[in-house]
Symmetry: C2
Subunit: 228 residues, 2 copies
Amino acid sequence: MPAPETTSTRRRRIPSAAVNRLPVYLQILTDLQLTETSQVSSDQLAVLANVNAAKVRKDLSYLGTYGTRGVGYEVAFLIYQIKRELGLLSQWKTIVVGAGNLGSAITANGGFTSRGFPVIALFDVDPRKVGTRIGELDVRNLDEMKDFVKSNGVHIGVLAVPSTAAQSVADDLIAAGIGSLLNFAPVVLTTPKGVTVRNVDLGVELQILGYHEQLRGQGTAKQARVSV
Amino acid sequence: MPAPETTSTRRRRIPSAAVNRLPVYLQILTDLQLTETSQVSSDQLAVLANVNAAKVRKDLSYLGTYGTRGVGYEVAFLIYQIKRELGLLSQWKTIVVGAGNLGSAITANGGFTSRGFPVIALFDVDPRKVGTRIGELDVRNLDEMKDFVKSNGVHIGVLAVPSTAAQSVADDLIAAGIGSLLNFAPVVLTTPKGVTVRNVDLGVELQILGYHEQLRGQGTAKQARVSV
DNA sequence: TAGATTGTTAATCGATTAACAATC
DNA sequence: TAGATTGTTAATCGATTAACAATC
């Protein structure tokens, strides 16, 4: 049976490969805006993003038909549309778990907050860290985490804890109602359906570079520009 | 004309989607080894990696036919084969550029070095940082970078510099003969063919989480476990 | 032998891209 | 009008996965 298209709402399902590229376009467009560029063609975007121009046009077509034939796309308008599509017009409440090097850097640096992901709390188990100030936040005790997530409606949890603690912290966050995790621990988390997990594992990145170096050594190197 | 298969060397080209999953299997297998598990089935691996069992078997088949029907795979042997395939039996000389929070953390933490990617130098432009000790290394002046890369045959460069500096540092590294870059700056680098670039952009990761949160809010959340 | 699991085939699904009519 | 560029089609390519013979 073919999908019964509802007449009222037209659910445009953007292919995941395209969703993964939208943030890249957004970054490029933001850069272009800083150089006072107001119009851009799919060809120009393609060069900057290291992809095919047809792919750019197809990706952007999922947002709507916002280009002008013979001219190109308006940078500011495209930025707005990508942000709308990616849900970047909302603020997503974020907490960081683990106040080590990485967790502290993320919290203090402010990049998350400025991109619409305000870091509203930082947790750690270590009693020597609890209560210390990092950036604009006081480190809280891990014991308070579940209650905090529930009462504040936190959307996103950043796991900057040791591998051994990651699964247990993830379980607690999910039990408290969090829906998305950004995991820096080099483990594959087990999570229920419906929870989104993105893993940032530098070991994995490095290993793939190692593979390409090996190919290069065999004289079979091939081009590879991979956006993550 | 069909590809003229050379009789002597059989170049097994592993599909890139499979290459991206091999490090994940490696991580799981390494964890299993710590729990004294010596045999594992494709089904078990599939559960742990959140993928389809047929995919596991197909991915592993690119390494060779190393399983035993009715039994499964030997963990230690599989670890060795994946390492061999990914070029992780070699040591890849690595330098870090940028001695800020991130660059310092990477250098001092030792994770890169222990995984076969020894960090042999750390560079920065800031004269106040040059000469200070981070982990086991003295910060070197960026001026020395090109010569260092050439005379030491460095394989991999880690860019932990501000966005504004990233392209210029990348150009220098490539001119000095480096083949692979791990880029933490939120910019798309322009590089010649044959150079491998992996971008680690936390902003991109977050934005994709934002998208899924938005879908969840619309009651159209779907499962998504993405390994990076 | 009976049960289990691999390795591989082939069908299916999704992503990519050349090409070009539409149109600014 | 002439030139440029989009939006979309359709062909192609690559990735996924159900199914099952091979075989331990």
